[in-house]
């Protein structure tokens, strides 16, 4: 076996520009076959553009990209027959029912009439959509839409599946359903390349993660490696009384041995901790000194913290740099997603 056989995606110096915007500005990626590869970045980082180039929907302006050993420009048809893309926004015919959409795609991929019907029914069953099979896709809820979108991508089981922000805008339950689906896909032997704005999603699913910003990969590695770079997580503490904050900051600095960040909220402070072990003792110090804590949380670093650690500045939320002009609907959705991402980071 040569190295090429083990790599699902091999990207080198990829460039894609839209007018003056360099949406993808020299991306290098090596995605091993099998498992989940996460591409993490804020809106407008170039994630979607990269994925669209890899799925042969956009032609690169520079660099090379090979998918499953085939060049995405010169051997586009060979790539198309082995990969599948689930875009950020539902890409099914909303006027047609779930069954009709899947039959349509099955027929276009060479299934006979009755085989296509059977495949559609099987897929709808596997994705828990049998009840909604006859309804128009436009009546589906967000979670159902995501599921039928993924089902549509595996009508012919692909060797490589691109999932563009599969859980953006979903409620927690639908989100965990999508995660289960991704895990099942990988168990079935499909390589999944997913983009996400959520660190915990990349952490939950991905074997390796590339962090991308302004069209460039700024860090790459396993989630453990990235966390080591970022410094583990953060302890967030909220006090009942803002007057006690200086005291609390002094005590925590002494107990944890790292400087404390005073947040803009006058009762909140946070400490970057690489190790959870001394945290209980630090909190106990506060109680002993009579500092009243209303809540505390020890969490993974947020996307913002990751970016801050890697680049020294918070993640840019630059919609203007994102792909082609968005339509009214997708703009709304993108805004919603951006808001969600912010809430998530908070």
């Amino acid at each position: 076996m040569t190295l090429g056989d083990q790599l699902a995606v091999e990207v080198s110096g990829l460039v894609k520009t839209f007018g003056k915007t360099r949406a993808v500005d020299g991306v290098d990626l090596m995605v091993p076959a099998g498992g989940v590869y996460g591409v993490l970045g804020p809106n407008g980082a170039g994630k979607t553009t990269t994925i669209r180039v890899l799925a042969t929907l956009l032609a690169p302006d520079g660099g090379t990209a090979r998918v499953l050993g085939h060049d995405v420009v010169r051997e586009a048809d060979a790539v198309r027959s082995r990969v599948s893309l689930t875009g950020q926004f539902a890409s099914l015919d909303e006027d047609l029912s779930g069954t009709e959409n899947l039959i349509l795609l099955a027929r276009l991929q060479g299934y006979g009439r009755s085989d296509a019907k059977k495949r559609a029914a099987d897929l709808l069953g596997a994705f828990d959509l049998t009840e909604a099979a006859g309804r128009q896709v436009k009546t589906y809820s967000g979670g159902m839409r995501r599921r039928i979108d993924i089902a549509a991508s595996i009508v012919v089981t692909p060797d490589l599946l691109f999932l563009d922000e599969p859980t953006t805008g979903l409620d927690p339950r639908s989100r965990s359903q999508v995660w289960d689906i991704v895990r099942a896909l990988v168990a079935g032997g499909t390589t999944v390349l997913l983009t996400t704005q959520y660190l915990d999603e990349a952490d939950q699913l991905a074997d390796r993660i590339a962090v991308i910003e302004h069209g460039k990969v700024i860090a790459e590695g396993t989630s453990g490696e990235l966390k080591a770079k970022v410094g583990g997580g953060a302890l967030h503490v909220r006090l009942r009384d803002a007057a006690q904050r200086p005291e609390a900051a002094r005590l925590l600095t002494a107990a944890l041995g790292v400087p404390v960040t005073l947040e803009s909220d006058p009762v909140a402070l946070s400490v970057a901790v690489s190790d959870a072990e001394p945290v209980p003792a630090g909190l106990a110090e506060l109680t002993r000194a009579g500092v009243r804590v209303s809540e505390f949380a020890l969490g993974q670093p947020s996307l913002d913290e990751v970016f801050f650690a890697l680049t020294g500045h918070p993640a840019g939320d630059d919609d203007a740099a994102d792909d082609q002009p968005l339509t009214g609907k997708s703009k709304r959705e993108a805004k919603k997603a951006a808001k969600k991402a912010k809430e998530h980071a908070a």
């Binding site: 032609a59 027959s81 875009g87 047609l96 027929r107 276009l108 596997a126 128009q136 032997g189 339509t327």
Partner: protein, 291 residues
């Protein structure tokens, strides 16, 4: 009823059933994924047929879209026959013999615009991303959609002809002449639709697609021999009417229906169909493949 429900409202009304436990999802999914069948690539014809089927399904699910295909022709035929019939010819009935083939052409030419509109919607909604990522014969998506639309054109055509017969239209060419006229017209409409496809791909919103298409089509239909005999027009306008492809189609359709057609008249129509296909189909495909 579900057609008018917005997704947001249906979310509230119909909560999703309780989720299936994760391990069960996994099990059923693995069964689905286990099928690593990779059927052979469908033939170009089969792919076109599938896309045509999709166009027909859209009529089934959104029958409202047939409203303008049916109401508009009926309105135009009645209005012109009775408003202007007496003034333009001796009587509405006399005018109808001249006017009906023309209104048939203008009706269907108008409907061809909706092909570009549908394409524009597909692109905006992201459906085309999925279709373009499939390894099928590239023009199939467009050709199939246009063939599906031919069914709509036929429906509208039959309606106009039926209405005409009811009002007193009596074609000398008989049933065969009418059928042949319809076939010639469908061929031309299919060829003309390539033009609107280009607008559908180049322009950003459905409104602008409709606006621009209208601006092209309006002078073409009115600056023709549909409504009146061009001999009353000023010379420069007659010159335009003479080269207008719509005039050539109207002449041929009229000729076939009244059994007065000449090979030359038909030749002009076929020439225009060839020109439209040879020029606009490749441009459309170029735009479609641009990425």
């Amino acid at each position: 009823m579900t057609t008018t429900t917005t997704p947001a409202a249906s979310d509230l009304l119909k909560p999703e059933p309780a989720p299936v436990p994760a391990d069960l999802v996994g099990e059923r999914l693995s069964a689905v994924l286990a099928s690593r069948t990779r059927p052979p690539k469908p033939s170009a014809l089969s792919a076109c047929g599938t896309f045509g089927w999709r166009a027909l399904l859209k009529i089934k699910h959104v029958p409202e879209q047939l409203f303008d295909v049916t109401a508009f022709p009926v309105m135009m035929t009645l209005m012109f026959t009775y408003l202007f019939g007496g003034a333009l010819a001796d009587s509405p009935k006399d005018y109808l013999q001249f006017f009906l083939p023309g209104t048939l052409v203008s009706t269907i030419a108008m409907i061809t615009m909706y092909t570009g509109l549908g394409l524009n919607n597909d692109i905006k909604k992201g459906v085309f991303d999925r279709i373009k990522a499939l390894p099928v014969w590239r023009p199939a998506a467009l050709v199939g959609m246009m063939l599906g639309d031919v069914v709509r054109y036929s429906g509208a055509g039959l309606l106009v002809i039926a209405l005409g017969l009811a009002l007193g239209f009596r074609p000398d060419g008989g049933a065969i002449g009418v059928v042949l006229a319809m076939l010639v017209l469908l061929l031309f409409s299919f060829s003309l639709a390539w033009v609107w496809n280009i607008f559908g791909m180049v322009l950003r919103t459905p409104e602008s697609v409709l606006g621009v298409s209208m601006m092209v089509l309006f002078p073409l239909t009115f600056g023709s021999n549909i409504y009146v005999d061009p001999s009353t027009m000023p010379g420069w306008l007659q010159a335009f009417v003479d080269v207008n492809p719509i005039s050539h189609v109207v002449t041929a359709v009229r000729g076939l229906m009244h059994d007065t057609v000449t090979a030359g008249q038909l030749g002009w129509v076929f020439l225009w169909c060839a020109i439209l296909n040879v020029i606009f189909a490749p441009i459309t495909m170029r735009l479609y493949n641009r990425r």
